[in-house]
């Protein structure tokens, strides 16, 4: 993996815009306040992985650059994956960043029942009836947590959750589709 420097600004803009969509401008302020910077590592075939790095890690990278070693496997906090096609640039946010921002900002979180939490860790979706509470605003991707606010993964809302909850609607319909859950650490990642 090679550190991408050319055209980085264009990618950074897209990543920051997505983060703002998911967690609001507050998230960008938090990232700035912590002194985090975005770094991209090329994975070949126009695929890049984005990471947030602190100043100390940036310093470490510049030391390694001096001996021409510029191909880390990972750095700091994983942000997500960028795929560049001829026509567009797609960004897929990663669980590590979603967890970090949800914990810091306490928003964009759906809290589910114990049973649903267990099943979610096995890759299952979330039913409307399993939702206990939401911490709005909920975005196009949201974080799933259990009653103790422990973060279990990311899901994609299939209905307008804020309206459904406000109106007290119930039902056994699938309300959120599992995108990634921490059971992954056992299934693939361990």
């Amino acid at each position: 993996m090679q550190i991408k420097e050319e055209g980085l600004e264009k990618f950074k803009k897209i990543i920051y815009a997505e983060i703002a969509k998911l967690f609001g401008k507050e998230a960008l302020r938090l990232i700035r306040r912590l002194g985090y910077n975005i770094i991209l590592l090329g994975r070949g075939n126009n695929v890049y992985e984005a990471f947030l790095v602190n100043n100390e890690l940036k310093e470490l990278l510049s030391i390694m650059k001096k001996i021409n070693i510029q191909n880390p496997f990972s750095i700091g906090l994983f942000v997500g994956t960028i795929i560049e096609n001829k026509s567009n640039i797609a960004f897929k946010v990663g669980l590590d960043l979603m967890e970090y921002l949800a914990q810091q900002l306490r928003r964009n979180i759906v809290i589910v029942s114990d049973d649903a939490a267990k099943l979610f860790l096995y890759g299952r979706d979330i039913l409307l009836n399993s939702i206990i509470k939401i911490l709005p605003p909920i975005s196009y991707l949201t974080v799933i947590a259990n009653k103790e606010l422990e973060i279990l993964g990311i899901a994609k809302p299939l209905v307008n959750l804020e309206t459904f909850i406000r109106e007290g609607r119930r039902g056994n319909i699938v309300a959120l589709k599992n995108v990634v859950d921490k059971g992954w650490y056992l299934r693939k990642g361990g």
Partner: protein, 329 residues
Amino acid sequence: MINIMELLRSISIDREAIELSIEYGISPYMAKRYIELFSYKGAISFLNTIRLGLKKSIRCNTLKISCNELLRKIKDRMVVKQTPWVPYGFWILKSKVNIGATPEYLLGYYYIQGVASMLPPLILNPKPGERVLDMCAAPGGKTTQLAQIMENKGSILALDVDRTRMRALRSNISRLGVRNVVTLLLDARKIVGVGEKFDKVLVDAPCTGEGLLPLIPERGRSRSLYDMYVLMKLQYELLKSAILVTKKGGVIVYSTCSIAPEENEFIVNLILKEYSGKIELVDISFYGEKGLTEIYGLKLNSELERCLRLYPHIHRTEGFFICKLRKKV
């Protein structure tokens, strides 16, 4: 190094060694070395412990949870006991569940780690904000513990040569919520060009793994004297590289999960000779035995007694060797 090999070859295999090797299914030369190291009775006690295995242990990940909170969460499924040396280390005395598949494991609240293997990071003791090098890092038990001690501040460069193990390292970093690590697939001997840049360096060297025999008994037969020679050369070169990239006044911890003097005292002895006056050994005051200063009839540097040895049959941990070196200013 060649002389050491000749010395080892010259150790004659006697009847006691052959009997032990048959009884315990290990190679005769290993049996003979254990007798040299522990006496005949000690070797039997060591080999019996290997048959029985060791208690598993976990390291509570204080980057994500307080240990009290973790204990509260697991108390209905596991009986644990705090280790005397590592405040966030716990033996699992009983468990109703597979400890590698609980929700708390998935949430990154703990790492399954041998108690002895929790000591090298503790002894290196990096401060938040320092720059640390972990030369043989994967799958990351010690890297993530270093990050825990550093409270996710400062930076850690984690190197390894094995791509599959590197993936596991990355997965562990993510699961445990570590944010101050750069992982790099690199032969750690190639890092020397950067110069004296690191405050602290950990060399958790690849080894024959004799200390892990209670966990992986097959290793008793599979390793030859030649394997040991190849590893000794690598261990020596890794430790030498560590010295070259450590700042003056900086600290290096050399550790292996082997109890073989060849991979431990012999390596540090060579380094002390080569860097005489530039490197000193720092006393490790922990539970355990002192490093060896004489073995196989060979006298070694007397400073080596400042190192630490842990044995399965005496300390109920994996077999381990740890040495702390300081680069003089």
